[in-house]
């Protein structure tokens, strides 16, 4: 397709979408769009200079500004790229540079490609193959591939598709989890397996789908299986040997939860001995879930890690009266020994499957005139929490999408104020129109934060459910679930929306409604361009300050992964994204026009950076230029 045809198509889409924005009956939003738009006229306007100048301790070792060594790029989880060749002024000239296909179209692609040393690293969904692609070769030549051969039984133990959310590069190693509960490290240069550690027994219903975090020689990994009656845990492994150093459970007595004298939760209802066991009926915590299958972030100033815990098991809350700590919450732990420093629970006695696993982005925001060190989580339950990351105090908690199950958050306790008719207990009856549905106003798909705009960029889901609790029996290796549901689109009829959100105020700044679910992660760059994708396969670049769509391209399948940006060997900025719909997005698969699955990775750059060379077989590469220029 020519770039001219592109522009026409993009223009049409943009017009439609923008007019849809304008019809939204939300004067506040319209006003703030105007305000943000006028701000963009001040070129180079930086909202948070201190955050822009965070030191190298917020990045993995040896990460250059053109590298991307971990799914969120930095330990704070911002997914902000300092590259600025692609700008709001030229993003409409983005063009396809090359593609790669991992062949695993059976399962959803939720991962983010990594780049270091002019090499791109990709890990596939089950069977979790790894690929290293040499970016100095035309079209990206395969340098090595590795097949770890995980056990196929894992496919049927994964609740929500046999997905994998990515890998981490650290000290010349590529580290990731296999669906069958093994963490492995490969030599990033050769693809040779260096170690493999068994973390759990897959036959019991435990799987692993999250991307590890690697800091100071330790690999942090957690389990999946919140629908299978597991007990959630996060473990630290030695990066050189794979040896397990400690494991902290999300449920059970303090000894299992690694809670000691230095544990200082902010709220009184979170204080006490062995609450991970005593807030449950006898022994129910053993199958109470709280699996940390999402993201881990790290504050190098405090040396603490932050991660959320999954839904409470079983979903039928009638079987587990009590607060059910520490599921559906978040832990702050010392990175060294894993001892908990504070915890918070977003949805105590969770009756709706609102997991707490979404990314906790660590930023310093001005709140009521004072800069506070906070973590921001866009929770499944529909509230965006801005929490003091040193104390666990909730500073701001406001809806960031459509929810009707709680009328708000009680700021004295941090607890949700549940709308009585949305309780799913007692079970055995249908409760109609609970918003959001189980997959939340946002699922695991990670948001981005720009220190230049001070805003978060978030994929929002507008989906509701009818829900009926059922009695669940625990049978090892089968679901411990106890719920039936049907899902439907929320008010307005648009399943998705991509928004910019001010987490200091708890306000949306702009939003782009999408007819299909927005289930992709976000990327924002120093060129003030934000990127996201839709479940029907549109990949878009938007002005990070105004929300104006600058460029769109329809890709081969739906997008549920997260985009990244790197500097190629030619010195130019590239954007990479995986396609392959699946995972929780399949909850909307009956929507007319829902795309087939796929497994293709797309890499874009500005059109002028793609050498115009006639196709030729003489290079031995099947056409294209011999080199893309720059460093070999």
């Amino acid at each position: 397709m020519t770039s001219r045809a592109f522009t026409v198509a993009v223009g049409t889409i943009a017009a439609i979408t923008l007019s849809a924005c304008g019809t939204k009956e939300n004067p506040g939003r319209k006003a703030s769009v105007v305000a943000a738009g006028s701000a963009s006229s001040a070129a180079g306007d930086v909202a948070l200079p201190a955050m822009l100048n965070r030191d190298a301790s917020w990045l993995p070792p040896d990460a250059g500004d053109g590298d991307w060594l971990m799914p969120s790029r930095d330990y704070g989880g911002t997914r902000y790229s300092p590259l600025a060749e692609i700008t709001t002024g030229n993003a409409d000239r983005l063009a396809l540079a090359w593609t790669f296909d991992d062949g695993e179209s059976h399962y959803g692609h939720e991962m983010t490609p990594l780049v270091a040393n002019n090499t791109m690293y990709i890990v596939s969904p089950f069977p979790n193959r790894a690929y290293a692609i040499d970016l100095t070769e035309p079209g990206g030549a395969l340098k090595w591939k590795y097949d770890p051969n995980p056990a196929p039984i894992a496919i049927g133990k994964a609740c929500c598709d046999a997905v994998l959310r990515g890998a981490a590069l650290y000290d010349g190693k590529l580290i990731y989890n296999l669906l069958d509960d093994h963490t492995i490290a490969l030599d990033a240069n050769t693809g040779k397996e260096l170690w493999r550690t068994k973390m759990a027994n897959v036959e019991d219903g435990t799987t692993m789908t999250m991307a590890p975090l690697v800091v100071d020689g330790k690999v942090y990994v957690g389990n999946s299986g919140g629908e299978m009656g597991v007990a959630g845990w996060l473990a630290a492994l030695d990066v050189n040997t794979g040896k397990e150093l400690w494991r902290a459970y999300s449920v059970g007595p303090d000894s299992m939860a690694r809670i000691g004298d230095d544990f200082k939760p902010f709220y009184s209802w979170l204080k006490g001995k062995d609450l991970g066991a005593t807030t449950w009926p006898a022994n129910a915590w053993k199958h109470g879930a709280g699996a940390p299958w999402g993201w881990v972030t790290y504050d190098p100033e405090r040396h603490w890690i932050y991660y959320g815990t999954s839904n409470t098991g079983p979903w039928n809350a009638d079987q587990r009266p009590g607060l059910n700590l520490w599921t559906s919450g978040v832990f702050a732990r010392k990175a060294d020994d894993g001892m908990a420093q504070w915890a918070f629970v977003f949805t105590p006695h969770n009756e709706w499957d609102y997991d707490g696993v979404n990314e906790n982005i660590l930023v310093d925001l001005p709140i009521n005139g004072t800069t506070r060190k906070v973590m921001v989580q866009f929770n499944r339950n529909g509230f965006a929490y801005t929490i003091d990351r040193l104390t666990g105090e909730v500073l701001v908690a406001k809806p960031f999408g459509h929810e009707n199950w709680a009328s708000g958050i009680d700021m004295k306790t941090g607890m949700p104020i549940v709308v009585p008719e949305k309780h799913t207990v007692p079970p055995g009856r249908w409760v109609r129109d609970i918003c959001p549905a189980d997959i939340g106003v946002k699922d695991f798909e990670p948001s981005a934060f720009s220190p230049r705009t001070g805003l978060f960029y978030v994929s929002v889901q507008n989906i509701c459910m009818d829900y009926k609790g059922n009695v669940a029996s625990y049978i090892a290796g089968t679901p411990y679930w106890g719920a039936q549901m049907t899902r439907h689109v929320g008010p307005g009829g648009n399943y998705g929306e991509f928004i910019a959100f001010d987490a200091a105020k708890g306000e949306q700044v702009w939003g782009i409604p999408e007819p299909f679910l927005t289930y992709s992660g976000a990327l924002v760059t120093a060129g003030d361009v934000a990127f996201y994708g839709t479940v029907d396969g549109w990949f878009r670049a938007v002005d990070a300050r105004t929300g104006k769509i600058l460029w769109s391209r329809k890709l081969g399948s739906g997008i549920i992964s997260a985009p990244m940006s790197y500097r190629g060997p030619d010195g130019h900025q590239y954007i990479a994204i995986a396609t392959g719909v699946g995972g929780g997005a399949m909850t909307t698969s009956s929507q007319k026009g829902f795309p087939p699955r796929g497994s293709t990775y797309y890499v874009f750059t500005l059109a002028q950076n793609i050498p115009a060379v006639a196709p030729s077989a003489e290079s031995g590469q099947g056409g294209g230029p011999k080199k893309q220029g720059g460093k070999p």
């Binding site: 196929p152 039984i153 894992a154 496919i155 049927g156 133990k157 994964a158 609740c159 929500c160 629908e227 059922n470 669940a472 029996s473 049978i475 290796g477 089968t478 679901p479 411990y480 679930w481 106890g482 039936q484």
Partner: protein, 202 residues
């Protein structure tokens, strides 16, 4: 190998004259005794001494299904009739088991699939005749299906089979061979099962 296969393998070289040769060769093979290379059969020496120490082969083959549940008749013919097919009381009991044994959590309450496959769409990875479905439940399958033969007697497993059949995706035992070859489009499958899911627009 057929002539068509030859053409596919050597597309560039296979000229018209070679096609003629191909056709003649195919005729030769059909004729059997005519000129040309005879169809080669695998040579297997079946007189090899059995030193495995295992029971005779026939005995081993009979262990697979039903034995652990203590049933005397522990083999199944591929075309066996589902004992409770169409029995409304048994189907209801099968439905209750389908929920209480957590089958519904994987295959969904409407059997349309979730963690596990859709059981109504007539697409069966391991076969959709009653004996196949029974075997899948009894022995489990490699992509996560647990083996229920250790926990449930055959009378309960057959009730679950009857419930699955009642949802329309299964094949009657008498059509097992045809189903294996995908030849059910014009079959009357109303005796015990239907194919109502087959033409679903999805």
């Amino acid at each position: 190998m057929t002539c068509k296969a030859h053409v596919a393998w050597a597309a560039l070289a296979c000229a018209a004259s070679l096609l003629v040769a191909c056709q003649r060769k195919e005729q030769d093979l059909r004729g059997g005794a005519a000129a040309g290379a005879p169809l080669r059969q695998p040579q297997v020496n079946t007189s090899v001494m059995d030193t495995t120490g295992l029971p005779p082969e026939g005995a081993l083959a009979r262990v697979a299904i039903g034995d652990l549940a203590g049933i005397g008749n522990n083999t199944l013919d591929a075309d066996v009739r589902s004992p409770y097919a169409g029995d409304l009381a048994a189907i209801k009991e099968g439905q209750d088991l389908f929920v209480s044994m957590n089958c519904a959590a994987c295959h969904s309450y409407d059997l349309k699939g979730g963690m596990g496959p859709d059981l109504t769409d007539t697409y069966w990875r391991y076969g959709g005749a009653p004996a196949d479905i029974y075997k899948s439940i009894f022995e489990g399958r490699p992509q996560g299906m647990p083996a229920w033969g250790r926990a449930l007697p055959q009378a309960m497993i057959w009730r679950i089979v009857a419930y699955i059949e009642s949802k329309g995706g299964a094949f009657p035992g008498a059509l097992a061979d045809k189903a294996r070859q995908g030849d059910l489009a014009d079959q009357d499958t109303t005796s015990g099962s239907t194919l109502k899911g087959r033409n679903n627009v999805r």
